[in-house]
Amino acid sequence: MDKAVITVVGQDTVGIIARVCTYLSQHQVNVLDISQTIIDGFFNMMMIVDCDDLDEQFSDMVDGLESLGDEIGVRIRCQREEIFTKMHRV
């Protein structure tokens, strides 16, 4: 499975999760796991998603989510999952 990790950090507002999920559903990306917390007063969310059926280039999704973050006023990063698993799992 081709997994990616999406992180959203920023000032909490209404509808952040809704807008990110809408983008993902429009591009055939399935959400596998979401964890969300408030750290130092900031909204922090991590999503693990399945990109097997992604209908655009991975780098396009990276750019698309980044632009969406700019619109909402939060920082959205999308990275391939391996950078985290390689670093934290022997």
Partner: protein, 454 residues
């Protein structure tokens, strides 16, 4: 399944602690580019580099985007040019033509630096190797991104003092040839002892004759990450400190391993090695000097510096070695003065002197690196510095190197600016007592007794 804390930790390393992959370096063999005519050699060299490295920069950028990890430089190393040009070059200026071909090819594919304008003369010089060395002032002043190195000694062969003497003069001539730019040419040259064949870092990177046709090597960097991790070790004992450094080095190297495998897959080129060095930059929070200070020194250069560096170097290796299938290159802590904010400050304040730096090179992974010295320093003194450093490497069976910049027209207390990753450095004093009679004796220093292991 990953958790949010782990994801945050990785991204904080990248965003706040300046974790990066310093370089993806493609090694390319140019042995099959040799010909009887130097213009044909230049054509062959240009063609092979532009063909093999065509997608290197694009691939690097793609990996950067997909994983969200900065890849600061994309570089190329090639077979030592003294070998490639031996059959065709009849004069130093013939070699300069090949340097131009390298420069053009590297710019065409968009890499940051190309290394391998190199001669390996640890026992003695062939006429071609001597010509390449004599071409250095012209080659380094007329090209922009060509890096050069000369291996003057090894544990097995001893030290070629004829080459050491010649290099002192060439470093001075290069400084003069690039005098309008704080003698920048010397930044692109390094003299080595026991040079590794697979070093992805510059200026000493070249593609050794032990290597295959094309290979991808990766150099990682993360002094800022180690520094931040050491905040948790304040006041704790050495066991805790070492454990912290090892764990951090493991994590940094794992990122390098991932990037190397991905680059290898996307480029269709075998993966060579990870060089797990702590490579600083002059930016705040990206300093090996800061790590040493967090270990417990008021400033780098204080008593205890050599021991702290020895420990740091060893822990970096111990942590990193488990993280990668193949570790090579230099792999340790770099201590370049001009590329490290805390080292610059220590040199400025007089706490860090050249003699202490020399002692530090006995236990770090490189040598006297990026040190600005007075422009009036004599060629013989520079040769003496190279000889001293080569002797440390030869006797201790380790890699050592010298990259000093005798900044033309500037003296102690003034600052040399090299720009970008190369940073800036205060000019520090060098003992100017003559060693001319020593470096001009001619011949070579024999291999040490412990080289006879057969």
């Amino acid at each position: 399944m990953l958790n949010i804390t782990e994801v945050r930790e990785t991204n904080e390393m990248i965003e706040q602690e300046k974790l990066d992959v310093r370089t993806i370096t493609m090694g390319i063999s140019l042995l099959d580019c040799a010909a009887a005519d130097v213009d044909v050699v230049c054509e062959n060299v240009y063609r092979k580099i532009t063909e093999k490295a065509r997608d290197l920069v694009k691939t690097g950028r793609g990996i950067e985007r997909d994983f969200g990890i900065p890849i600061v430089n994309k570089r190329i190393t090639v077979t030592p040019i003294s070998l490639v040009g031996a059959s065709s070059c009849k004069s130093p200026s013939d070699f300069v033509k090949i340097a131009h071909a390298l420069d053009r090819a590297a710019k065409e594919v968009g890499v940051d630096l190309i290394g391998g304008y190199t001669a390996l003369v640890s026992k003695s010089m062939t006429p071609a190797e001597r010509m390449l060395i004599e071409s250095l002032p012209k080659a380094l002043s007329e090209t922009d991104i060509v890096c050069s190195s000369v291996n003057v000694g090894s544990t097995k062969t001893g030290i070629d003092m004829d080459a050491v003497e010649l290099l002192g003069r060439m470093v001075k001539d290069t400084a003069y040839a690039t005098r309008d730019n704080d003698s920048y040419g010397c930044v692109k040259f390094v003299a080595f002892c026991n040079a590794p064949d697979d070093n992805p870092f510059m200026a000493g990177g070249f593609h050794g004759v032990t290597e295959g046709d094309v290979v991808v090597n990766v150099g990682v960097s993360g002094p800022g990450v180690v520094s931040r991790a050491l905040d948790a070790a304040k006041g704790k004992d050495f066991e805790f400190l070492c454990e912290t450094i090892k764990r951090t080095a493991f994590k940094i190297t794992r990122v390098g391993q991932l990037v190397a495998q991905e680059a290898s897959k996307r480029l269709g080129v075998p993966f060579g090695i990870i060089d797990l060095s702590l490579a600083p930059t002059a930016a705040v929070g990206d300093s090996v000097g800061e790590v040493l200070e967090k270990i417990g020194l008021e400033q780098v250069g204080a008593p205890g510096t050599t021991a702290a560096l020895a420990m740091l170097n060893d822990q970096v290796k111990k942590g990193g070695i488990m993280a990668s299938s193949y570790v090579g290159g230099l792999s340790g802590a770099f201590i370049p003065v001009s590329e490290d904010k805390n080292m610059i400050e220590a040199a400025k304040s007089g706490c860090l002197k050249i003699e202490k730096l020399e002692a530090m090179t006995c236990v770090c992974s490189v040598g006297l690196d990026m040190i600005a010295i007075p422009g009036e320093t004599s060629a013989a003194t520079i040769s003496g510095m190279i000889a001293d450093e080569a002797a440390i490497g030869m006797v201790n069976q380790k890699t050592t190197a010298v990259r000093v910049i005798p900044v033309y027209g500037k003296g102690v207390g003034e600052v040399a600016n090299f720009g970008g990753l190369m940073g800036y450095a205060p000019i520090i004093p060098v003992n100017q007592t003559s060693c001319e009679a020593f470096v001009t004796r001619g011949g070579r220093i024999p291999a040490p007794i412990h080289s006879f292991k057969n």
